[in-house]
């Protein structure tokens, strides 16, 4: 309980939520890059710099700047709320359950790398959905689905998937319009990308 009260007090004192999260992000990236380089790659010397030298120094600097931004969040002249992102608990729980299960079942899933991959991806998307707006989740989802569907399903069907999913990410979904748009873009894609530019895409599944 005390911990929770402490965190609450800190949250109260944050004046600039944007600086707060940005500071955490920079510090996290900086420390991450620094620690990975220091623990995995040879440092070398100033004369003969090893692969760890430059990233470790940069990472350290970035972490310091992150700390400065974090500090500024408490004294900033600008005020922004701490709560910048959405928070949907059910999606977060689902993400953690699926992600955790995938991690724990690592040995059982070794035989099926695709299943493992798909589950991890699902967990990631649920995680994004837990914090971001609908558009963020659906647009990125549409993009990734397109990437994975292009080879097995062909250009036509993956374009349909991309357009419909991304249109769902907007505010104003109009059935008739989306059908027309999809048809136009499929035709355009086939004519320009495959016939015109000669990109090596198959049009239909299993070609």
């Amino acid at each position: 309980m005390r911990d929770k009260k402490f965190l609450g007090d800190v949250a109260m004192k944050v004046r600039n939520g944007k600086d707060f999260w940005a500071g955490l992000m920079f510090a996290g990236f900086g420390l991450g890059f620094m620690l990975v380089s220091l623990s995995n790659y040879p440092m070398g010397s100033a004369v003969r710099m090893g692969p760890a030298y430059f990233p470790a120094v940069l990472g350290g600097l970035l972490a310091l700047l992150g700390g400065a931004v974090l500090f500024r969040a408490f004294v900033s002249r600008f005020e922004h709320p701490l709560k910048l992102f959405a928070f949907r608990l059910p999606l977060l729980i689902a993400a953690l359950v699926i992600g955790g299960a995938t991690y724990l079942a690592d040995s059982q899933l070794k035989g099926a790398p695709m299943a493992q991959f798909a589950l991890a991806g699902l967990a990631l998307f649920l995680f994004i959905g837990a914090f971001g707006p609908k558009s963020l989740f659906l647009i990125l989802f549409a993009v990734v689905i397109f990437g994975f569907a292009l080879k097995p399903l062909g250009l036509v069907l993956s374009t349909v998937l991309l357009i419909v999913l991304s249109a769902l990410g907007g505010h104003d979904f109009r059935n008739k319009e989306i059908v027309i748009l999809t048809v136009v873009l499929v035709l355009f894609g086939v004519m320009v990308f495959v016939k015109g530019l000669g990109l090596p895409f198959n049009l239909w599944p299993g070609e």
Partner: protein, 500 residues
């Protein structure tokens, strides 16, 4: 007159006037105008999208087309700014102020004509500026060693952070993050794969198209959708293009000043079209009769339009002579050159003169095309604006996805782009300007390489960066820039300037 210059330019025009290159120049400026007109998609995303397509072109055609997109976008952006008060391109934000007012007073025609004429004049001058100043600068650059290059890149990055929007600390942090992301992949010296998490797909590093497309393209679509921006377009009628004699007299000085300012600011690291147009407008507001600004002053259209076009073009100078990009579009141009197997730098001018001068000549031709093309086509561009965003963004998305996928024909790249889209969204939310990140990303490996070489040559003596004269001066300027920006007085005006 300099005889070599005439010879060089004639070589350039010979290349640029070939039927094929004229065609690609035309495609480039047309596409550029198109995306300049359409809000929500800028030159960075478009060039990133088209990079894979340029694989199959000859290097000169590819560069001519991509350059055309950039300066074409400046023309297109002004059209919508004047007619419907929508800046199609960020550099034309400032043109809305007086251009739209002119349109509401029924003077859209003269505003558009002056914008086009100002842009054309600025484009011509900037072409000459490049032709005159690039060769001597490249000559200096040929004498650069690793220490000088390292300091130059530091200066470039500092310039980009100083000129970025918002907080300076965040901009520096974004630069560092970009440098670090650029280091992902196999280290050239030791052959060790760094930060790849064992993924073979990452061993060649992250393609910068992926970063640019994710951070600029996807993130922009997502935030546009989240804000639910609905656009109501009220188009003002265009009647009579010809400006009056008084318009011409009023704006000629503004065009001259805008061109001069834009040509200078374009060369600066971090400079380019956006900064130039803002600076030119601010300057005009301080000169002569200022009572009409914001109420349809023609000088308020002429100066920023001339400046943004001049700035867009002279920002090619650091790229062509030093191989250092001054803004994200130039970073993409470096990528385009590398795809074609050309190492950007001072040697391009001597080793591939047809490439260098052909591109410069094409800029002048492209500007001419834009003037001829733009005024009669205004009706079509305005029609395009009525296409709702809900139909536009799925189409943009399709282009982006196909572009990214065709980089290596693997779903992995598409997934990585989505990841950078997520990161880009977070950046927007946290008010972290992504432009310095992209510059850092491009320069990361180059900087490390030059740092290593310089330190090896100096036997680990870091003072070499200050004791070598050119390097010392460059670093001195960088430090001075940072100090000036941190000075309280400048900080205040900077905040005001970016809020306007």
């Amino acid at each position: 007159m300099d005889f070599a210059l005439i010879h060089n330019l004639s070589v350039g025009f010979g290349v640029a006037l070939s039927l094929q290159n004229l065609m690609y120049c035309f495609v480039g400026v047309l596409l550029g105008t198109l995306i300049g007109v359409l809000p929500g998609i800028g030159p960075v995303a478009t060039i990133a999208m088209l990079l894979p397509v340029t694989f199959n072109l000859s290097p000169i055609s590819a560069l001519i087309m991509l350059a055309g997109i950039y300066y074409g976008a400046q023309y297109g952006g002004s059209t919508t700014a004047i007619l419907v008060n929508l800046p199609g391109e960020s550099a034309s934000v400032i043109t809305c102020l007086d251009g739209y007012q002119m349109a509401r007073q029924g003077r859209a025609g003269p505003a558009l004509a002056i914008a086009a004429m100002g842009s054309f004049f600025a484009g011509c001058v900037a072409t000459v500026v490049i032709a005159l100043f690039a060769p001597p600068l490249a000559e200096v650059a040929l004498k650069f060693g690793p220490a000088e290059y390292f300091s130059l890149m530091v200066l470039g990055l500092v310039g980009a952070t100083v000129l970025a929007h918002g907080s300076l600390v965040k901009a520096i942090a974004m630069t560092l993050l970009g440098l670090l992301l650029g280091l992902i992949g196999t280290d050239v010296n030791s052959g060790i794969a760094r930060f790849t998490f064992g993924l073979p797909e990452l061993s060649d590093g992250i393609g910068f198209v992926i970063v640019a497309m994710g951070v600029f393209g996807f993130a922009e679509i997502i935030t546009n959708l989240e804000q639910g921006a609905s656009r109501d377009v009220f188009v003002n009628k265009v009647t009579g293009l010809m400006p009056t004699w008084k318009d011409l007299k009023d704006s000629s000085g503004a065009i001259l000043r805008g061109t001069a300012l834009g040509s200078m600011l374009g060369i600066l690291p971090g400079g380019g079209a956006l900064l130039s147009s803002f600076a030119a407008y601010t300057l005009e507001k301080k000169i002569g009769d200022t009572s009409k600004f914001g109420k349809g002053e023609i000088r308020g259209v002429a100066a920023p339009e001339a400046a943004n076009n001049a700035g867009a073009q002279t920002s090619f100078i650091p790229l062509l002579t030093l191989g250092i990009p001054s803004n994200p579009v130039m970073a993409l141009m470096i990528g385009a050159m590398m795809i074609q197997g050309i190492a950007p730098g001072p040697q391009v001018m001597t080793e591939r003169p047809e490439l260098f001068w052909g591109m410069i000549a094409s800029m002048w031709i492209g500007n001419l095309m834009l003037v001829i093309l733009n005024l009669p086509l205004i009706g079509i561009w305005v029609k395009l604006l009525t296409v709702p965003y809900r139909l536009l963004y799925p189409s943009i998305l399709l282009f982006c996805c196909v572009g990214v996928y065709s980089l290596s024909n693997q779903p992995f790249d598409v997934m990585l782009t989505a990841l950078f889209g997520l990161l880009g969204y977070v950046f927007v939310k946290l008010e972290c300007e992504p432009a310095p990140l992209i510059l850092g990303f491009i320069l990361g490996p180059l900087m490390e390489e030059n740092l290593r070489r310089a330190m090896l040559l100096s036997r680990g003596d870091a003072t070499v960066f200050f004791t070598k004269p050119i390097s010392g001066v460059l670093l001195g300027i960088a430090i001075l820039l940072l100090l000036i920006t941190l000075a309280p007085a400048v900080r205040k005006t900077r905040e005001v300037a970016f809020q306007e």
